[in-house]
């Protein structure tokens, strides 16, 4: 089978982002809980962060000129893939410790894998990005693996 994945592309597996340290604030928790339609007081009041709050906490805050005309920011962890149309993806998240307002968390992202499969309408490229979130004591708090599909 011919492959879309050159050795040069596969050499990007293992690439890591610069660690990102962020402060969890009550205000940000409240905004997230309200926007997602959460109905639990501890989240709406901002005492504790709901699961998936880390998605907002570590979304790249990019400057306007870094956004493409369609409003997307380029993920600097990713190489240029020979397929570009993003399809649905999946997530696996492990919640190891609760997150509260006042916590400092640090996330490091790793491009964990790139592989190819044949779909019904042609080749598909899969890539996986791991995000490890630790607290200031270095203890793991959340582990997330995202799988995305390009066609």
């Amino acid at each position: 089978m011919t492959t879309l994945l050159s050795d040069e592309l596969l050499a990007n597996i293992g690439r890591q982002s610069t660690p990102h340290r962020e402060l969890v604030t009550r205000r940000d928790i409240r905004k997230y809980a309200i926007a997602t339609g959460n109905r639990q007081r501890k989240y709406l009041d901002g005492d504790q962060a709901p699961p998936m709050f880390h998605v907002a906490l570590f979304w790249d805050v990019v400057e306007l000129e870094e956004l493409t005309p369609d409003g997307v920011s380029i993920d600097s962890l990713l190489p240029k893939f020979p397929l570009e149309r993003a399809m649905a993806g999946g997530l696996k998240i492990d919640y190891l410790k609760p997150v509260h307002a006042g916590d400092w968390l640090t996330a490091t992202r790793t491009l964990a894998d790139i592989y190819e499969k044949r779909g019904r309408s042609g080749p598909l490229i899969f890539y996986e990005v791991d995000m490890l979130i630790v607290n200031d004591a270095g203890e793991p708090v959340i582990r997330e693996r995202t799988t995305r599909i390009l066609r």
């Binding site: 926007a35 998936m52 907002a56 979304w59 369609d70 409003g71 993806g89 999946g90 998240i93 919640y95």
Partner: protein, 146 residues
């Protein structure tokens, strides 16, 4: 606000395979989708620029953000679980796009109970109005033995 937590703490032994989680109807509108993406700093036009979403990307309407559907799976599990345990892991995938104006529903079914480990596995879903599962997943919760 209604009290969503279980009225009393329940041990893992009170849960059985086949137990259904309460379903919740979800009708996200433009305002909610805007606030969600603002909180993330997500400026993708498919979520707020309807002419762009339709004419350029070919969608029938404004696309509901995939991770928001994932969040609703978590809420479904946590509202059912209340103070009786902790959501420790979830796996889900966004299989099909959903659009503003659609009526969605979240729900789930217990598929595995391991009383010794205190572990319960739940199949969760977001369905569209046609009944198609657009976001399937499996969540794992830890509950107390007694």
């Amino acid at each position: 606000m209604i009290n969503l937590a279980l009225s009393e703490k329940r041990p893992v032994t009170s849960v059985q395979v086949g137990d259904a989680l309460p379903e919740r109807e979800l009708t996200p509108d433009n305002v909610q989708l805007f606030l969600y993406n603002a909180v993330l700093w997500n400026a993708h036009r498919i979520h707020f620029d309807e002419p762009y979403a339709k004419d350029v990307e070919g969608y029938p309407g404004l696309v509901i953000a995939g991770p928001m559907l994932g969040d609703w799976l978590h809420q479904c599990v946590e509202e059912w679980l209340g103070d009786s345990g902790r959501l420790v892991s979830i796996e889900y995938s966004n299989r099909a796009a959903t659009y503003i104006g659609e009526t969605l529903a979240s729900g789930g079914t217990v598929i595995e109970v391991s009383p010794a480990a205190g572990e319960v596995r739940i199949e969760v879903f977001i369905k569209n109005a046609a009944g198609d599962v657009v976001t399937p997943g499996v969540a794992t919760v830890m509950m107390e033995a007694q």
